[in-house]
């Protein structure tokens, strides 16, 4: 019996800002941006999920639904602040698996 498997995209990103941000602040900012641009339904279809975040390098890996990569990118582009301070999130690479992303996946 065929089993439906969700396809996902993993985005390697880095944060540019005047100060360092915590995992919670980064995750909140991403979720808030998706919510303000696409609403609750968008949040449920895009399914943003912060997989990994390194507070030292201010970079991390974010997962989203494969069919909604553009929405995810647009939501990240609209982030202008994290917490109280100004910041921007830039996508470095996109891949279908975390392993290839860490190896150096292609920019999609």
């Amino acid at each position: 019996m065929p089993v439906y498997r969700k396809r996902r995209r993993y985005l390697k990103f880095w944060i540019r800002g005047d100060e360092g941000f915590s995992v919670k602040e980064a995750a909140d900012a991403i979720q808030r941006s998706v919510l303000s641009l696409y609403g609750v339904q968008g949040l449920s279809t895009i399914e943003p999920n912060l997989i990994d975040f390194d507070e030292d390098s201010q970079s991390g890996i974010l997962r989203c639904n494969h069919d909604h990569l553009r929405e995810m990118r647009a939501s990240l582009a609209f982030i202008t602040s994290i917490g109280e301070s100004a910041a921007a999130i830039h996508v470095d690479k996109v891949s279908g698996t975390i392993r290839s992303l860490k190896k150096g996946g292609e920019t999609a």
């Binding site: 800002g17 641009l37 990118r73 582009a77 609209f78 921007a88 830039h90 996508v91």
Partner: protein, 233 residues
């Protein structure tokens, strides 16, 4: 492989422009349009950069009336690769769309002003005859409240439709005046999804469309250029 261009960076001073150019290179742009003042004496374009980022000189004109626009164009056209006009009134917008020397049309970001001066069908029809492009700056939408951003988005959606109807090229730029407002090329393109623009078309708006414009204008600025297809040898 696509060459991405952010055609509108507006750094206030030299230090800021250096950090914005470094950021543009890091974000994956091949070329940037650096807005300069008429008094700026080409501080960047003469020096070759280590990261091989190509810099196109750009000027944003803010004329108060059509006469001021034509006299400014006469003075500066041959000094800049990209000439953009911020249309603050309808007569200026009409004149800019009619003039072959104008490359890009910009419109006000305040809702009230945008209602008066916008990229309507008549404007699009005039612009299609002169190959003038309509520019969308992402910075116009950032840091705005939900109400203002939504109104701007709906106005821009109609304007993009007008541009498509009359085959007017559309360019997407960051319009950033600081590094934190800069976005990567694929993020700029993805944001166009909010205006109902497809993936390939929006990627063209940050690559092929502005690149064609820069190349065309560079050819025109070369010595010996007479008219399209004609060169003095």
């Amino acid at each position: 492989m696509r060459k991405f261009i952010d055609l509108h960076l507006v750094p206030g001073d030299t230090d800021l422009s250096e950090s914005m150019l470094n950021e543009a290179s890091r974000l994956g742009f091949t070329c940037v349009g650096l807005t300069q003042d008429t008094r700026d004496r080409d501080s960047h374009d003469k020096k070759p950069r280590e990261d091989s980022l190509d810099i196109a000189r750009r000027i944003d004109l803010r004329p108060r009336n059509p006469n001021e626009l034509t006299s400014s164009l006469r003075r500066i056209r041959r000094r800049f690769e990209i000439v953009a006009v911020e249309c603050r009134s309808k007569p200026v917008a009409r004149q800019a769309a009619r003039d072959h020397r104008v490359d890009i049309l910009n419109f006000p970001t305040q809702i009230q002003s945008r209602r008066r001066v916008r990229f309507d069908r008549q404007e699009a029809s005039l612009a299609s005859g002169t190959n003038c492009a309509y520019e969308i700056n992402l910075s116009d939408l950032l840091n705005k409240g939900a109400h203002v951003a939504s109104r701007l988005l709906s106005m821009m959606t109609v304007e993009v439709e007008n541009a498509r109807r009359y085959d007017v090229p559309v360019v997407v730029s960051s319009g950033a005046d600081e590094p934190l407002l800069m976005r990567g090329p694929r993020e700029l393109a993805a944001s166009m999804q909010l205006l109902g623009i497809g993936e390939e078309e929006s990627l063209d708006m940050v690559s092929d469309v502005p690149w064609r414009m820069v190349e065309r204008n560079r050819r025109k600025l070369e010595p010996g250029y007479v008219s399209p297809g004609v060169r003095r040898v």
